[in-house]
């Protein structure tokens, strides 16, 4: 076991710096850091951090709290509303669950890009 751990440590010592240096130079991270001071900057403003349990709504509600976003899987609601919506106020409950969104986007390409004929006449809550 110790030889395995030593081998892992050796390979990790070689692998991690090489990959990190390659990503920094060949990817956009180095230039982003020089231009804006952050290697992970995007063109989308960063939201304030969510609370652990208390729900707060960002601009377009996705993750409202850590518990609600990361520790839930709203499968029943996904069966009731098997498509994503873009609304800011009216949206299905599975839109605030990270793993439900990842699961749905993995299994159906029409979850996000559904045809207009699928739209319900009564808005889903």
């Amino acid at each position: 076991m110790f030889s395995t751990i030593r081998t892992l440590a050796l390979y990790g010592t070689i692998f991690v710096p090489v990959v990190a240096a390659a990503c920094w130079t060949l990817g956009p991270y180095g230039s982003h850091y020089r231009q804006s001071g952050s290697a992970f900057v995007t063109n989308q403003p960063v939201s304030p951090l969510p609370h652990l349990i208390e729900k707060t709504n960002p601009t377009r509600p996705g993750l409202t709290s850590v518990v609600d976003g990361l520790l839930t899987f709203r499968y029943v609601d996904l069966l009731r509303h098997p498509r994503n919506t873009q609304g800011r106020r009216v949206y299905p409950r599975h839109r605030t669950s990270v793993w439900t969104q990842v699961y749905a986007r993995t299994h159906s390409i029409h979850f996000d890009a559904w045809p207009p004929a699928w739209a319900a006449r009564i808005p889903s809550s």
Partner: protein
């Protein structure tokens, strides 16, 4: 090699298949009794055991998969918009996720729970239960081929396609009068075709 022969497949005691199940012996000279047939010459020559290579590879794949899953969680916490919760961000770690999925299915197999799968001392391809505990599902070795899973339940029902069956094969009668469609593309009234001429 596997201990499965046709006579055993037709055995009235199908539960014996579980006892007869043995991992495939490796092709690089290792024997099922834990000793290498070539006297460890490959080890002396500097070849690492297959199990160690696979363990390092599975560690890398598992770290990649967990890293991308963690990235999706961190990305969602940072931006909180539902549009950042996408599975495509985990696509680079897909191979590790598939490996964990297969390994989880193998560990849930009743043969693995009974200990018939997982003896890693012979360097076989079905090891994993004796992997270090801290590695968890990382100690397995891929691939886990379909024939490793065909020992118990499917063969209680049938012979799992291992014996040829007589099936009826019907060859349709060929109608030899037809020619290439291009030969009959003329209007029959204006210019009679060869079929029309033959009827006359």
């Amino acid at each position: 090699m596997r201990g499965h022969r046709r006579g055993q497949l037709a055995s009235p005691r199908p539960e014996s298949h579980a006892r007869d199940f043995r991992p495939c012996p490796p092709a690089d000279g290792a024997r099922s009794d834990g000793h290498r047939a070539d006297g460890g010459a490959r080890l002396a020559a500097g070849h690492a055991p297959a199990a160690r290579r696979a363990t390092l590879g599975s560690v890398l794949l598992t770290l990649a998969a967990l890293g991308y899953v963690g990235f999706v969680a961190a990305y969602a916490i940072q931006y909180r918009d539902f549009s950042v919760m996408k599975a495509i961000f985990m696509l680079a770690g897909l191979l590790g996720l598939v490996m964990l999925f297969i390994d989880g299915g193998r560990r849930g197999h009743p043969l693995h729970a009974a200990g018939s799968i997982g003896d890693g001392e012979d360097g076989g391809r079905l090891q994993g239960s004796r992997a270090p505990l801290f590695l968890g599902p990382l100690g397995s070795e891929l691939p886990y081929a379909p024939q490793h899973d065909a020992a118990v339940r499917p063969r209680l029902v049938g012979e799992h396609g291992d014996v040829l069956q007589l099936v009826a094969v019907r060859v349709a009668e060929e109608h030899r009068r037809g020619r290439h469609p291009g030969d009959d593309d003329r209007p029959k009234i204006v210019v009679p075709s060869r079929d029309f001429d033959a009827v006359k």
